[in-house]
Amino acid sequence: MIEVENVHKRFNHQKVLDGTSFRINSGSVTSLMGRSGAGKSVLLKIMIGLEKPDSGAIWLDGKNLVTLNLAQLNKIRVRFGILFQEGALFDSLNVRENVAFPLKERTKLSDRQISEMVDDHLEQVGLLNHGEKFPSELSGGMRKRAGLARALVTKPDLVFFDEPTSGLDPITKSTIYRLIQKTHAQREMTYVIISHDIRGVMDISDEIMVLNDGQIVAKGKPEELSQSVDPLVRQFLTGSPDGPIKID
């Protein structure tokens, strides 16, 4: 589905991505793990074309996103759904308008059809009764759910989740994970989850990749990874301060 090939990116002499390469299979749920500041968010921005890498390529259906111009990129972006860290709901619009926004902008559906689709998706994330509220009136979990509804409402092929559970309580966390699982089961979509919540994503992922120092240092199915003897992976899993990764 999407392939990242030898991507390099540096900010002011600090290497963030250093030859990152991987491939994500169509229809799978892939989790990209890494410490905070390991370059996950930058990688996501590069994958959706918000940032240009210094070198390397992002392949999607035989096209290199890096070399496309904005108009071409926008044509491909239509197939993306993205759940940003804090939901990134538009402050000036209420929940319904937020969810309807991508439909209004990208499709020529009638208001009625849009309204029906929005209702569907709001119901799915359990926010049907909060449609008239503004983002500032919502809790963090509700914002993420609304963001999820907005990411999914266009029926994208490829959905990116940027830290879908950060800053949430355990119950809300598992609710979100269940929602991800549920929606994935309904439609054939490729999910890319960026997270550092390794235990959470273990249950829902088909494949897990670990990003460290700008490179993919380990990848495999969750059960393979949990069996791994690699000290770095083990440190990740246990969350121990001792190990190959040292935090100064």
Partner: protein, 266 residues
Amino acid sequence: MKALLMMSTEDNSLIKMALTVVSGFLSQLGGALIMTVMALKSFFWPPYRIREFLRHLDFIGSQSAFLIIITGAFTGMVTALQGYNGMHRYGAESLVGATVALALARELGPVLSALMVTGRVGSSMTAELGSMRNTQQIDALSSMAVDPIHYLVSPRMVASIITLPFLACIYGFSGMVGAYFVSTSYLDIDPGAFMSGIRNYVDISDITHGLIKAVVFGLIMSMVACYKGFYATGGSRGVGVATTKAVVISSVLILISDYVMTAIMF
């Protein structure tokens, strides 16, 4: 020898520092200008977001009107008092009307209303865009194939440019009303003399020049505010810093450009 080397490296670093400062300033200026051109150009491209545009017209115009009326009235009143103070000595009290009208039409109306709007609207534009940047709303727009400059910056800029001349008009008018009341009731100036002074001394060019100024101020204010907000980094503190800078920079630019325009036009 060693000292010499050190000196030369110090010199180098100084030059480098100066270069970074200058290039930083120039790249900001360039960035702001590019964004302005993009925003103004793309305003005329579809899709037309009329409601979004109306929202900004409302925020910048209608909702500022009260503030503008109040500040304008008091400005006019105090200008009348001060003008009377000076005119009285020469027995030219009838010129108070003309004085206030000219001051309001050419300088005070456009400049002070632009400064008021900068404080009220410019700051909120920067803060809004800055927080949208920091909560990834701008990224979200791009990722939905919506041009954030077209969606966010264009309506703000165009609304500012359109609205500010009108606000300057309202400012000037309410200032004149204030001056009229102070002059006729408190300073005992003949109402007829007040009005005929305006008629004789205010030229249509005074008003048009004031309006041209207001248009430029609207452009400057929205340009600085949008640019600072759009590229704000560093979380809520960054947004705060950007807001302060936007207000300071646009106020300073408004006053500088006022001088330049006055020097050119009169």
